[in-house]
């Protein structure tokens, strides 16, 4: 009988220790948002439409066709 009581008490203490150790102390950060590709080729990143979209080129020096 004494052994059973001792075992039960030990089990309760162990369970309490495990619970205390596993209690979350820091919130898990959310996974970063990933914009899915918008074009079939995956070349344009989708996402919220910004207030302004700027596209630009420069120093084109007359290249109508691909270069290189």
């Amino acid at each position: 009988m004494r052994i059973r009581v001792a075992l039960a008490a030990a089990s309760l203490m162990l369970a309490g220790t495990v619970l205390a150790q596993s209690a979350p102390t820091v919130a898990t950060p959310p996974a970063p948002a990933v914009n899915p590709p918008a074009s079939p080729q995956g070349l344009i990143t989708a996402g919220r439409s910004p207030e302004l979209e700027m596209l630009f080129t420069g120093d084109v020096v007359g290249f109508l066709e691909p270069c290189g």
């Binding site: 439409s49 302004l52 979209e53 596209l55 630009f56 290249f63 109508l64």
Partner: protein, 281 residues
């Protein structure tokens, strides 16, 4: 060999961006030095490129030193009749020091269901004290230091615009110096030799810097989120290297056949041994 760039891929990209971001207003700009060599074939290519850019919806271009190789009149002939706005803040008349081109423009853009955005666009070339080209009405064109010109203009542009952009045909180090010396510039969009920005947002003070490389191989993309009070909340940049992964826009490819045929005819008339033009190889 992995040729990159070309107007047809550029057209495809622009169309896809508009589809992906249907509510966003788009500013399409060129930072200058768009011109081929000043030969008959080169001039035909430059004219075709400018026509193609207006077909794609470009609103504004900076004037680079290269664009004035054959002087003011030759440039104006190549842009004749096109709705593309040319700007330059630091190309001035030698006699009066007045700007030769509009020193800035305000481009109004509006997305679907969005309020209108006024984008003030200025343009600069690197300071070159020995530059001198024939200008309008008998005068020459010279260059004044870009910071000096911008310091006078930016406060006025700031009053008229929600976003202030400087198109820059100068070294990135010069662009950083401008960002330090001239407050009120939101973006420097530049091209100089092969300087290419990554996707990181490079900021000098409060000015965002983005460089796009050369020869039309890249298109720079900047997505600008603006807070309700009008301040720039965030910027996301993408650099598109137009390799063969980017499909051609067929309509643009079909349209290009005409101008390219004309260029070939000019080269044949020149005896097939015309000096190699820079573009189109």
């Amino acid at each position: 060999m992995n040729p990159s760039g070309g107007l047809a891929r550029r057209a495809w990209l622009i169309e896809q961006v508009k589809k992906a971001l249907p509510e966003s207003p788009v500013l399409l700009a060129d930072t200058g030095n768009f011109s081929d060599n000043p030969t008959p074939a080169g001039d035909a290519k430059t004219r075709a490129l400018l026509e193609g850019m207006t077909r794609l919806g470009y609103q504004v271009a900076n004037v680079g030193e290269r664009d004035l190789t054959a002087g003011y009149d030759a440039l104006m002939e190549r842009v004749s009749g096109l709705p593309l706005k040319l700007v330059s803040s630091n190309l001035v008349r030698q006699d009066s020091k007045e700007p030769v081109f509009p020193p800035f423009t305000v481009v109004k853009v509006q997305g679907k269901g969005r309020k209108e955005i006024k984008v003030g666009v200025l343009g600069v070339v690197r300071f070159n004290p020995v530059f001198q080209k024939s200008g309008p009405t008998g005068t020459n064109i010279v260059i004044v230091p870009p910071s000096e010109a911008l310091a006078k203009l930016v406060p006025e542009v700031r009053k008229q615009a929600d976003v202030v952009v400087v198109l820059a045909a100068l070294h990135k180090d010069d662009a950083r110096a401008i960002a330090h010396e001239v407050p009120g510039i939101d973006f420097v969009l530049g091209a100089f030799a092969n300087m290419i920005s990554g996707t990181e947002d490079e900021v000098e003070g409060t000015t965002h810097l983005l460089y796009v490389g050369n020869q039309g191989k890249y298109v720079g993309e900047s997505r600008v989120s603006i807070a309700p009070e009008g301040k720039i909340a965030s910027v996301a940049n993408y650099m598109h290297m137009l390799t063969a992964r980017y499909p051609d826009d067929q309509a643009t490819l079909d349209w290009m056949a005409g101008p390219l045929h004309k260029v070939q005819d000019i080269e044949k008339q020149a005896g097939g041994a015309a000096p190699a033009a820079a573009g189109g190889h």
